[in-house]
């Protein structure tokens, strides 16, 4: 057990190191030079060169990479090209807002996904099931920001219940969280539904029936628990999606956060900030996946059995 945990930790560290390298290479090595972009098309070569020296992009790539990596290890993600502010400080100020959004959206998605999936199975083959599946298909095929726009049209413009934009308090959080949560809940709902339908036909259900257990108890106690456990695997993917879409949702609702900072930094060609923001999201994603993987070993007795047999 412990060996497996240590092993997974090392692999995750390797992946994080690889991701740092990948992001660095994309933003610094690919054609497209920040100095040229910032200086504009009409700038003279001397101006561009001067800017390059100032930004430190005139150094060889391996040099830049070494100093960047050294910085990352010491918790330094560089300095913003535009505000000359440390990237870490800038992003740390935005982190709570993004965490509030993504954490609540994921919680809502789990709540919605599981309950709607169960509802769909309870009414399987009937109109409610068909309605849920049709709406799911539709929502799954929407851009998340269009769903957000429709929510704004309905709840803010037509009904006037909720503010469109704003940062303080709970009320402005409702629409962004609702949008992201509903959008994320669809794959989960499908997984829960498929899992439940599948496990209803497993031999252990027959055994339980043979034991004389009521259908209600079989469904709510045994089948449901198995199906819900299996949804934990999707949690990692969900966090990745919510971090990705936070960029879009924060832009749409004009919310503060890492995503909106990223978009602003892109507009200003502020490479260190973009790099730092994507790095933070990737690290968060890797860590969540690691936790999901480990919790799965803890929750599911089958994997535990295999592991303990292997180490014995």
């Amino acid at each position: 057990m412990l060996r497996r945990i240590v092993e997974r930790l090392l692999v995750s560290l390797g992946v994080i190191f690889g991701a740092v390298t990948l992001i660095f290479l994309i933003l610094n090595w690919l054609p497209g030079d920040a100095a040229t972009l910032i200086a504009g098309e009409d700038a003279s070569p001397e101006t561009v060169h001067h800017l390059r020296v100032k930004l430190g992009t005139d150094r060889p790539l391996s040099d830049q990479y070494r100093s960047y990596l050294n910085g990352v290890i010491h918790g330094d993600l560089g300095t913003s090209y535009v505000t000359r502010e440390p990237v870490v400080r800038r992003l740390a100020a935005q982190l709570p807002s993004t965490l509030a959004l993504t954490f609540s959206a994921c919680s809502l998605a789990v709540l919605l996904g599981v309950s709607v999936g169960v509802l769909s199975v309870l009414y399987r083959g009937r109109w409610l099931d068909h309605a849920i599946q049709s709406v799911s298909l539709f929502v799954h095929s929407m851009p998340s920001f269009w769903l957000g726009m429709l929510m704004i049209l309905l709840f803010s413009v037509r009904l006037g219940w909720l503010p469109v934009i704003g940062n303080g308090g709970v009320l402005p959080l409702v629409l962004p969280v609702g949008t992201l949560g509903i959008w994320l809940s669809v794959p989960l709902q499908r997984l829960v539904r498929d899992g439940l339908l599948e496990s209803l036909h497993e031999p252990y259900v027959t055994t339980l029936r043979a034991k004389g257990l009521g259908e209600r108890r079989i469904f709510y106690v045994h089948v449901l628990r198995n199906a819900v456990t299996s949804t934990i695997t999707l949690l990692g993917v969900m966090v990745g999606e919510s971090l990705s879409n936070a960029v879009i949702i924060e832009t749409l609702f004009a919310r503060q956060g890492i995503g909106r900072t990223t978009v602003e930094a892109i507009g200003q060609k502020d490479v260190p900030v973009v790099q730092g923001a994507i790095l933070i999201s990737s690290v968060a994603y890797v860590i969540v996946n690691l936790l999901v993987d480990l919790s799965y070993t803890l929750i599911d007795p089958r994997t535990r059995l295999v592991v303990s047999k292997g180490t014995r």
């Binding site: 994080i16 497209g32 083959g125 298909l137 851009p143 803010s156 999606e241 971090l243």
Partner: protein, 333 residues
Amino acid sequence: MKPAVDQLVGASARAVPELMFDASEATTLDPQASHGLNDVLQGKRAAQRRAQEQQVPSRLSQLQLSDLLLPVSLLVLLFVAACAAFPGAIAPYLPTDMRTEAILSAPGAAHWFGTDQFGRDVFSLVVYGARQSVLIGIFAVLISCSIGASIGLTAGYAGGWLDSVLMRLVDIWLAVPNILLAIALSTVLGPSLVNTIFAISIAAIPRYARVLRGQALSVRNRPFIEASRAAGASHFAILRRHVLPHCSVQIMVLATLGVGSSILIGSGLSFLGLGVNDECPDWGYLLTQGRGYLTVAWWTVTYPGLAITSMVVSVNLLGDALRRRFDPRTGPR
């Protein structure tokens, strides 16, 4: 080329019975064990049959639903394709036609989808915007699927260190959430159609690689692979003639569903201002522009979004239909 193929097929056909004989010998070594296994298998089969019988009603209704939806989605795709190919023949106005007397007018007889803040006809804009979405969907999938499939099939077939190296790379690639990866790429490359397609493709590659590696892994130890290797076929030939065809259904389904997600990511990039913004804006960019007039003109965002969604729904339905049609393992859902 042709005789070589025949030779290969002939060789594998000859070799297979021998290999199968070996396998059967191995299982009959212990009659008791094989008997037990048979019982288990039979029990499982009976359970499956029962499950199928029980699910007949729900499967029937499912079939009716998709039977109804599939032609509709094919019609939608046909119409979108027509818009992409001949926008001038379908759109009543040009996308550059600005009518100052009809700024932000509501949908009506003159302008079916209303007009935007410049007095442009939204229906015409949506029609002209189709081309970019279609191009993004098709080319992003062609690029990402062919590269991803090559990586995945090679890794799964080769196994060993090559598999480990390729899959570690894929893990790293997957560690950066895909929209963020596409954002990073298009930030550096700048906005243009080719760059958008490139960014989306690169971000989508690891998913294809992951799935197809699993497929190749399940094929690589089949007797006919071993047979053609024994017959002297090169690894490349085996990959192309045996492993690839075995995974073609998966590739087709993945690619179809991939068109939808490519279009969604593309519209997201456009929404963030990283997409193409020339005089003929794509659907995502129309949404960005309409966003400022959300409170006064619902039609500027509703119709472009509806266009994206109906196209992606159609593609996804098509993908699901393909999967149900060709893949016996995914049962009724």
